[in-house]
């Protein structure tokens, strides 16, 4: 849980601000998961902070949703070219890909439970980067 919180801070996901008037506040909560390895033994406990995206209102704190998806046919074409011309082909995975998305809209999220700033308990997290559960 601390690791997840630190990762979010390191990523510059939000900054604490005084609550602006009439802000639409998106709630958040911790989701816990027990990760087991193939033999069924517990590998680690995982905590993830998710925003309650259903609190968001279109036009106020989200305008468009976007996910890059390539057409199946395009993949087939590229694979076929790869074989025909003997190109090299590599696969990569971006870790926490979702959390890299920069936000243009003003989204205010409540402070996560257990990590409320002692000096500013009423402040809100103004989100700069995307977080799981957001639209």
């Amino acid at each position: 849980m601390n690791a997840e919180f630190d990762a979010l801070l390191r990523n510059g996901t939000w900054s604490l601000v005084a609550p602006p008037p009439k802000a639409n506040i998106v709630g958040c909560r911790w989701i816990y998961k027990i990760k087991k390895n193939v033999d069924g033994f517990i590998e680690r406990f995982k905590a993830r902070l998710v925003a309650k995206g259903f609190h968001q209102q279109e036009g106020i704190d989200f305008n468009e949703t976007f996910s890059p998806v390539v057409k199946h046919a395009t993949i087939q074409i590229v694979l076929s070219l790869t074989v025909s011309y003997n190109w090299q082909i590599k696969q990569i995975d971006i870790q926490n890909a979702f959390l890299h998305g920069a936000l243009e809209e003003e989204v205010y999220m409540a402070q996560p439970q257990g990590y409320i700033h002692p000096q500013y308990p009423n402040h809100l997290c103004r989100l700069h980067k995307s977080i799981y559960g957001l639209k």
Partner: protein
């Protein structure tokens, strides 16, 4: 898809949300791209392409196999069809799925889930395009008979679980397209179904089965509509290939005009 072209070096990057494939005619170019990505993101290199979107990729120097064996096995397990009797064809030739019967299928969301999973299978199974197209038309209101058709497809999958799509090095990149259609095969609205497949050199790269928007008054009309659909797809293919920077000969398109009268 992102394309980077400079002098003779070409890099193509395909992105499916967080699954990324990088291919290039130069190994050092791939290396540079990976280094640049490393400086901005936490990137995990998974080495040569082996598993992408549920598709296993088996590579050797001159050919490549694509298979969804794992995906099919999981689907059969999930639907409790793993122990079922296999069937050698995905649909009976006399099958007429209609939307007008009384017996509703008890669990529509299960039907949608399974058919959705089946749709992903057309990625390596051109032969399933038609039967999956048929059962996909009733997602909004599945009936018992549609469920039977889906079960038949699953039993066929059990029979063909290790079927693979084969891509091999071909001496040329000539594009050939084949188009066909039925005529008024749908008893409910009498619209015809177009189908096409496109080869680049030896390799099958595109295929589709799709109902035409309007009713064709003759089989020739249906065939021409199918040819038109195919031609527009070829147009797209040509534009994407020229974007990649490949020059290819003009595609050839073949239709099947049946000269026997229909009865």
């Amino acid at each position: 898809m992102f394309i980077w072209h400079k002098n003779d070096v070409l890099v193509v990057i395909l992105i499916y949300v967080d699954d990324i494939i990088i291919t290039s005619n130069s190994g050092t170019a791939i290396h540079h791209v990976l280094q640049d990505l490393h400086s901005d993101f936490a990137v995990k290199e998974l080495g040569d392409l082996s598993y992408f979107l549920g598709v296993e990729v088996l590579c050797s120097t001159n050919d490549m196999y694509l298979t969804q064996r794992k995906y099919v096995a999981e689907l059969l397990n999930r639907t409790h069809m793993a122990e079922t009797k296999p069937y050698t064809s995905p649909m009976s030739t006399t099958c007429h799925v209609s939307a007008t019967e009384r017996d509703k299928f008890s669990d529509p969301s299960l039907y949608r889930q399974v058919v959705g999973s089946l749709q992903h299978l057309t990625f390596t199974r051109p032969i399933l395009s038609f039967s999956i197209h048929k059962v996909s038309k009733f997602m909004h209101n599945p009936l018992e008979s549609h469920c039977q058709a889906v079960k038949r497809i699953l039993r066929y999958l059990k029979h063909t679980i290790s079927t693979r799509l084969f891509l091999r090095r071909s001496p040329n990149s000539a594009i050939q397209a084949f188009s066909d259609s039925d005529w008024a095969g749908d008893r409910a609205d009498r619209r015809s179904i177009s189908a096409y497949c496109v080869f680049m050199g030896n390799n099958l790269i595109l295929w589709r089965c799709k109902q035409q928007f309007t009713v064709a008054c003759s089989s020739i009309e249906a065939e021409y509509k199918s040819l038109a659909d195919t031609a527009s797809e070829l147009q797209w293919l040509q534009s994407i290939l020229s974007e990649i920077g490949l020059t290819i000969p003009t595609p050839q398109c073949y239709g099947m005009i049946i000269l026997e009268p229909h009865t």
